[in-house]
C-alpha cells in the first residue's frame, strides 16, 4: 500500500524519461517541441502531487467550508507560473520552427545539418 502513495512520483519519472527520449531520439523539430512540452508538464505533476492532503479540498475558503482541511496553495501558485512559462517557450519554439521551415525548406534536423555543412 505504501508504494501506491508514491505512484505519482513514478509517473513523474516515467514522463521525464519519455520527454527526454523524445528530445534526444527524434530529429524532427515539431516532434522535439512536443517532447519538450511533455518534459515540462511532467514537472507540474511533481509539484501538484505534493499539495494533496488526505481529506482536504481545494484551498477556496467559502462560507460552507471554513473548518475543512485545505490543500497546500503554494505548489499550485508555482505551477500556474510554470504552465504559462511552458506555453511561452512552446510558442517561441514553434515560431522558430516555422522560420526554419521557410529558410531551409525542411524541419528535419539532420538534413539541416547537411545543408549547413555544405555551406
Amino acid at each position: 500500500m505504501a508504494v501506491l502513495g508514491l505512484y505519482n512520483y513514478f509517473v513523474f519519472a516515467v514522463l521525464l524519461m519519455i520527454g527526454l527520449y523524445c528530445l534526444l531520439a527524434r530529429t524532427n523539430i515539431i516532434k522535439s517541441i512536443i517532447g519538450l512540452s511533455m518534459f515540462q508538464s511532467a514537472v507540474f505533476l511533481l509539484y501538484i502531487s505534493m499539495d494533496k492532503v488526505d481529506g482536504g479540498t481545494a484551498p477556496i475558503i467559502q462560507e460552507g467550508v471554513e473548518n475543512q482541511i485545505f490543500a497546500n496553495p503554494l505548489p499550485q501558485v508555482l505551477i500556474l507560473t510554470a504552465i504559462v512559462v511552458g506555453i511561452s517557450t512552446t510558442a517561441l519554439a514553434l515560431a522558430v520552427a516555422v522560420r526554419i521551415r521557410e529558410a531551409y525548406g525542411t524541419i528535419e534536423e539532420d538534413k539541416i545539418q547537411e545543408m549547413d555543412r555544405k555551406q
Binding site: 534526444l24 512536443i34 501538484i48 484551498p59 477556496i60 512559462v85
Partner: protein, 330 residues
C-alpha cells in the same frame, strides 16, 4: 482512498498516451494525442484538489497549445520523417535520469500524508493569514497576486517576451497580402464559411465564451479563476471567431495594433501598480498602501493586477494566433 483510485486510472492513461505520442509518425496525430495528454493532466490536477491549475492546464494546454501546434503544422510539414537515430544513447541517458529520480523518491512523503514538511512550514501561514490580511476566499489567487506578486510580475513579462519573440520572428507580412480583394476572399480558404452549421453555431457562441472569460476574470477571487485563465478564455473566443470567419475577418474584429496595445498595456499596468505603491511610501508591489485601509488596498491591488494579467495574456494569445494564421505558405 478515492483519490488514489482515480489518480491511478488517470496516471496510467497519461503514460500510455505519452508513449503513443512518442511512437506516432504522423505529427498531426501527435498533436491530437498531446491534446488528450493535457486533458488527462488537467483531470488529474482536479482530482488532486488543484482547481485553479486544472482550469489553466485545460484552457492553455488543451486549448491554446493545440491551436498553435495546428497553426504551425499547417505552415511546416506533417510527417515526422526522422530516420531511426541510434536508440542506445537516448535510452541510456533517459533511463539513468528516471532511475535517479525513482531512487530518490522512495524517501519522499506519501501522497496526501498530512505530516509532510510541506504542509507544516509556510502553507498554514497562508491559509490562516489570507482571510485576515487580504480577506479573499480563493487563497491561491491571494498568494499568486499578493504574497508572491513579484513572481507573477515576472510571469507576465515571460508571456510578454513570448509575444515579442513571435512578433520579431513572424512579424510584418508584406502589406499586399492583407489588403485582400473580394474575389480573392472567396478563394481564401482559411475559414469555414461554406460549412453553414458550424459557422452559425460558432458565431453564436463567441459572445458567450468572451462573457464567460470575463466572469472567470472577476470571479477569480471567489472561485477558481484569475488573470491567466480569463485571458486565455477571451483569446479562445476570438480565435474561434477567426477560425470560423477566416483570418482577415478575425483581424478586422481584433486588429493587430489593438492586441499589441493590449499586451503592452497589461504589462505596463502591473508594473505601474508596483511603482505606485512605491510612490505611496510602501515597498514595491505592496498593495496595502494603495487605499486608506490595508485590506481595501489589497483588494484594489489584486483587482488591478489581475486585470493587467488578463489583458496581457489575452493580447499575447491573440497576437500569436494571428501571426501564425496570417503567415501564408511560402
Amino acid at each position: 482512498m478515492m483519490t488514489i483510485v482515480f489518480s491511478l486510472f488517470l496516471l496510467t492513461m497519461l503514460v500510455i498516451v505519452a508513449v503513443a505520442i512518442l511512437r506516432t509518425e504522423n505529427l498531426f496525430t501527435a498533436v491530437m494525442l498531446s491534446g488528450i495528454f493535457s486533458l488527462i493532466m488537467a483531470a488529474n490536477f482536479f482530482v488532486l484538489d488543484a482547481a485553479d491549475v486544472a482550469l489553466t492546464e485545460a484552457v492553455i494546454g488543451a486549448g491554446i497549445s493545440t491551436v498553435l501546434f495546428l497553426g504551425a503544422l499547417a505552415l511546416t510539414a506533417e510527417y515526422d520523417r526522422s530516420p531511426p537515430v541510434g536508440t542506445w544513447v537516448p535510452l541510456l541517458t533517459s533511463s539513468a535520469l528516471g532511475g535517479v529520480i525513482i531512487f530518490a523518491t522512495f524517501q519522499a512523503p506519501r501522497l496526501g500524508d498530512p505530516s509532510a514538511i510541506v504542509h507544516q512550514h509556510v502553507a498554514p501561514w497562508y491559509l490562516e493569514k489570507t482571510p485576515e490580511l487580504i480577506d479573499v476566499p480563493n487563497v491561491v489567487t491571494a498568494v499568486l497576486a499578493s504574497f508572491r506578486g513579484y513572481d507573477t510580475l515576472g510571469e507576465v513579462f515571460v508571456v510578454f517576451t513570448a509575444c515579442i519573440g513571435v512578433m520579431a520572428l513572424l512579424g510584418r507580412v508584406r502589406p499586399r497580402r492583407d489588403s485582400i480583394k473580394e474575389g480573392e476572399f472567396k478563394k481564401a480558404t482559411d475559414n469555414l464559411r461554406h460549412h453553414l452549421i458550424p459557422r452559425v453555431v460558432g458565431k453564436m457562441l463567441v459572445p458567450f465564451i468572451v462573457l464567460f472569460g470575463l466572469y472567470v476574470q472577476f470571479h477569480g477571487d471567489f472561485g477558481p479563476g484569475g488573470g491567466f485563465q480569463a485571458g486565455a478564455l477571451v483569446a479562445a473566443g476570438v480565435i474561434l471567431y477567426s477560425l470560423v470567419e477566416g483570418g482577415v475577418r478575425g483581424r478586422e474584429l481584433v486588429p493587430e495594433w489593438f492586441s499589441s496595445v493590449l499586451v503592452a498595456l497589461g504589462a505596463f499596468t502591473y508594473t505601474s501598480v508596483g511603482v505606485a505603491s512605491m510612490l505611496m511610501g510602501g515597498r514595491f508591489l505592496d498593495y496595502s498602501v494603495l487605499a486608506h485601509d490595508p485590506v481595501h488596498g489589497q483588494h484594489l491591488g489584486i483587482l488591478v493586477i489581475e486585470a493587467g494579467v488578463g489583458m496581457t495574456v489575452a493580447g499575447v494569445m491573440i497576437t500569436i494566433f494571428h501571426a501564425f494564421s496570417r503567415r501564408g505558405i511560402r
